[in-house]
């Protein structure tokens, strides 16, 4: 069965994740993004004669960290090799990469698809290599300009096996890797800046065939949407070609987002002969059990484990758990809210609350984290680490809500005020006089005033138009500036309307 009739697409991804180090893989030049061209280059990066590469320990540790997270084999002995080709953004005329013996091999990653299924994606290898510089093709005296700031930035190339069978699976896998590398702190995942990009190997074969078809490689796609579109286009192009009796040419193609199509890349005709050989400037790299243990000691709980814990131990719905775990900072924020909710310990965790959650405040904290907080962050274009309402501050607000000091509606106003810098929840409630009115005398007075004001509606209601109850609730709320305790108001109002 296939969405493509008698054809099955087979996709493998090569993801390039820039490792978030301060300095380059083989030089002490800065990796910071956005500097003036060629100002972040050292002697090694412009490949001056006589210069030699010296590797950055942090890059190795980050590679090991990723390897542990995908349950891979960390090679005790691996080798840096030279990949030889000429290109102006490659100053040495070779890229230092890993070929036969990568540092990370044979891992796997569980990927949850949008349709609810989970697939396990086999990862063949992840290896360390250096990035190239940038060629700027804009008209420059009829020339191409070369900026070597990026040259030498450490990359982890993560190579999946060809085990993805649709563009949707490929993108879901890519998103999962994206979450994971950010979660682990090995890559900032910034796709606009090119910190996380992807080459896709695409082939199609008859559904009945075991043998892989001839593949094409789509180079350097840097958004999830474009990866999906590029793969979709390429699958359809290949099927169309095969159905027309044409042969697929093994080649490198570029995705053109403006036209939503792929086209063959020029100047790569001898791309197949990279003349890899062990870099004689770099002896083999040894990773000891102690090295691995040291990295292991700093491993965070992984997103998949945390997601599962949120469902099993906190009783959160799958969708909330998945959304919280899409990003470690968000999940950490959520947990910090939960941990600092005052009085939380007094409530027995096993008591099911109305949402059916195992943890009484988990759903509340999740709703606010994914709701108000996310919305405010989006609007202000901030990351959750930059949130103007800290997790403990939100916890205080939610405590007042739960205690009945304020209503849910008021809580949103208080949150907005907190976001606007008016102080913590208690200060805002105090200053604005937002305490919920639970005094039955005060509420009764407000109700009486409303009923006196709207005699016509009162008659209608008593005549059987029960829908008008909400009208009266609204009017009382208005009169009390939303501070009426809703449950109490309902009860009192019903009594008065009898």
């Amino acid at each position: 069965m296939s969405a493509y009739g008698n054809w099955q697409p087979v996709i493998g991804l090569e993801i390039h994740a820039q490792l978030s180090t301060q300095s380059k893989l083989f030089s002490g030049a800065s990796t910071a993004y956005g500097a003036e061209p060629n100002t972040h280059t050292g002697l090694v990066d412009i490949a001056l004669p006589g210069t030699l590469p010296v590797p950055n320990r942090a890059a190795l540790d980050k590679a090991i960290r990723f390897g542990l997270a995908i349950d891979a084999r960390i090679a005790s002995h691996s080798v840096f090799a030279r990949k030889n080709y000429f290109y102006p953004d490659l100053p040495k005329g070779y890229q230092i990469s890993q070929y036969e013996l990568p540092v990370v091999a044979e891992g796997k990653l569980a990927v949850r698809l949008d349709d609810g299924r989970t697939i396990e994606v086999a990862i063949e290898r992840a290896h360390l290599e250096e990035d190239a510089g940038k060629s700027l093709h804009e008209e420059f005296h009829g020339a191409t300009g070369i900026d070597l700031n990026r040259a030498g930035t450490p990359l982890l190339e993560i190579v999946s096996k060809p085990v993805l069978y649709s563009a949707a699976e490929a993108v879901a896998y890519m998103r999962t890797v994206h979450t994971l590398v950010r979660w682990l702190g090995v890559c900032d995942g910034n796709m606009q800046e090119g910190s996380f990009r992807c080459d896709a190997n695409v082939s199609v074969r008859p559904v009945s065939s075991e043998k892989l078809g001839t593949r094409t490689e789509i180079k350097n796609v840097n958004s999830f949407r474009f990866v999906e579109k590029a793969i979709e286009y390429e699958i359809e192009r290949q099927i169309r070609a095969l159905e027309n009796g044409e042969r697929i040419v093994q080649e490198t193609r570029l995705y053109d987002p403006a036209r939503h199509q792929t086209r063959p890349m020029r100047g790569k005709e001898d791309a197949n002969d990279y003349r890899y050989f062990p870099d004689p400037d770099l002896p083999p790299l040894a990773v000891t059990a102690d090295d691995i243990a040291a990295v292991k000691a700093t491993m965070p709980e992984l997103p998949e484990a945390r997601r599962k814990r949120y469902v099993d131990a906190l009783g959160l719905p799958e969708i909330d758990a998945a959304q919280l775990c899409a990003d470690r900072a968000t999940a950490d924020y959520f947990e910090a809210v939960l941990a600092t909710l005052p009085g939380e310990a007094k409530l027995a965790a096993e008591t099911l609350n109305t949402q059916g959650a195992l943890h009484p405040d988990a759903k509340l904290a999740a709703n606010w984290t994914l709701g108000e907080v996310s919305a405010a962050l989006n609007e202000a274009a901030l990351s959750i680490e930059q949130s103007r309402v800290s997790a403990p501050a939100l916890a205080q607000l939610l405590a007042r809500l739960r205690e009945g000091v304020i209503s849910g509606k008021i809580a949103k106003d208080v949150f907005a005020a907190m976001w606007g810098g008016e102080g913590d929840a208690d200060a805002v409630i105090e200053k604005r006089g937002l305490k919920q009115i639970s005094d039955s005398g005060a509420l009764a007075a407000a109700i009486n005033a409303v009923l006196a004001e709207y005699p016509t509606q009162l008659a209608d209601f008593r005549g059987g138009n029960e829908k008008l109850l909400q009208f009266f609730v609204g009017q009382v709320m208005k009169r009390t500036r939303g501070q009426a305790n809703p449950q109490q108001l309902n009860a009192l109002l019903r009594e008065k309307l009898k």
Partner: protein, 477 residues
Amino acid sequence: MQLAQALRERKTSATELTRQALAAAKNRVDLNALITLDETGALAAAERADTALTKNPASALAGIPFAHKDIFCTNGLRTTCASRMLDNFVPPYNATVVDKLAAAQAVAIGKANMDEFAMGSSNENSFYGPVKNPWDTARVPGGSSGGSAALVAAGIVPFATGTDTGGSIRQPAAFCGITGLKPTYGRVSRFGMIAFASSLDTASVLARSAEDCAQVLAAMAGHDGRDATSADRAVDDYLAALAKPLQGLRIGVAREYFGAGIDAGVAAAVQAALKQYEKLGATLVDVSLPNAALAIPAYYVIAPAEASSNLARYDGVRYGYAAKEPKSLEDLYTRTRAEGFGAEVKRRILVGTYALSAGYYDAYYLRAQRVRRLIANDFAEAFKTVDLIAGPTTPTVAFKLGEKNSDPLAMYAEDVNTVAVNLAGLPAISLPAGFSEKLPVGLQLIAPAFEEARLLNAAHQFQLASDWHAHKPEGVA
């Protein structure tokens, strides 16, 4: 160093010695031993050394003039590697070796001629023309450190730096009747030394005596964090080791080094030198290096393979020569490299590219690396029973200019006794051991890794008991 003694006793000054060296260099332009003479820099350095010499204790090399092979990058001073490709290249940094000798207050007078990118055994592959052998200016000085060797042999400077990838210090030392030390791979930093074949390249010194070599190596050696292949281990006290008597030293005489192709006069001189060692208390032991004949083929695959990649950076974009009016990127690349490199460099780039290319990697590169291990194992086996291995540095004495440079294979055969040492990464020394046809003959001693002290000790004791190293070409003071 005799000069050092004179400096300390104030019989002369660094400035005086430097003026003499500069004058001597200008007096022997016929040798073509220097690519760049740095009078201003040398005199300024000499002045600083004279100041340093007023303070005690000054470095043993303070104020001593010397020359750098033009393969070491010198900040602000043109560094060509004897190639048109780098004819205009002024490095913005110093090689570690350059920094170290500057810190020792030695006075560099300029940059010595060499074979282009250190590829050659006669110094005829220089963009700046061949170097002449001071013993007979119709003959080659050897290569690739030919300029360094000629400067020392001609008495212009007491020592010069050199590099040895396949005999490039030892062979010119032998041809020019001086002492040349190749250290263990990793003992001296390669940072700033323009790469030929990275897993074989070593940097060191050519001088008049083993004692002088010890003095200079002591200043050059040591771990360098800028070279990932640099050995992180303490440097032995080479000078302290010189005095040790050779009683009980076991010297292996490798029979393969006396086979076909060796000149009778060379063999006789080397045998006589070995007899001298016996008199000094050493024992001669017959040893075999069964894979010795495979060293040349292995070397002439591995070195070009590494070179083909190391020299890919010369593309006319960031520094060095660039073809004029390029019509396209391809045109810029291919003409820059065709015009910028000399014939031998291009030949080796092509051979190396071929040896690494799809379909030939296993048959050439990988096979050569396996043979490399066999060669290293031969030495390890021999060193189980002997302390040093001895033989002629070269099978012949210095040959005539033009005699071999039309035949690359004949030229490569010159390296028959030297390249195996580089493949195994071992230290070795060539010291003057007599004459054949009135030309110097070199004796090569090879030691296990990091046993430079043992080599220098054995060479020094020989030089205390003989005067071959004191012989100078006619007319040289």
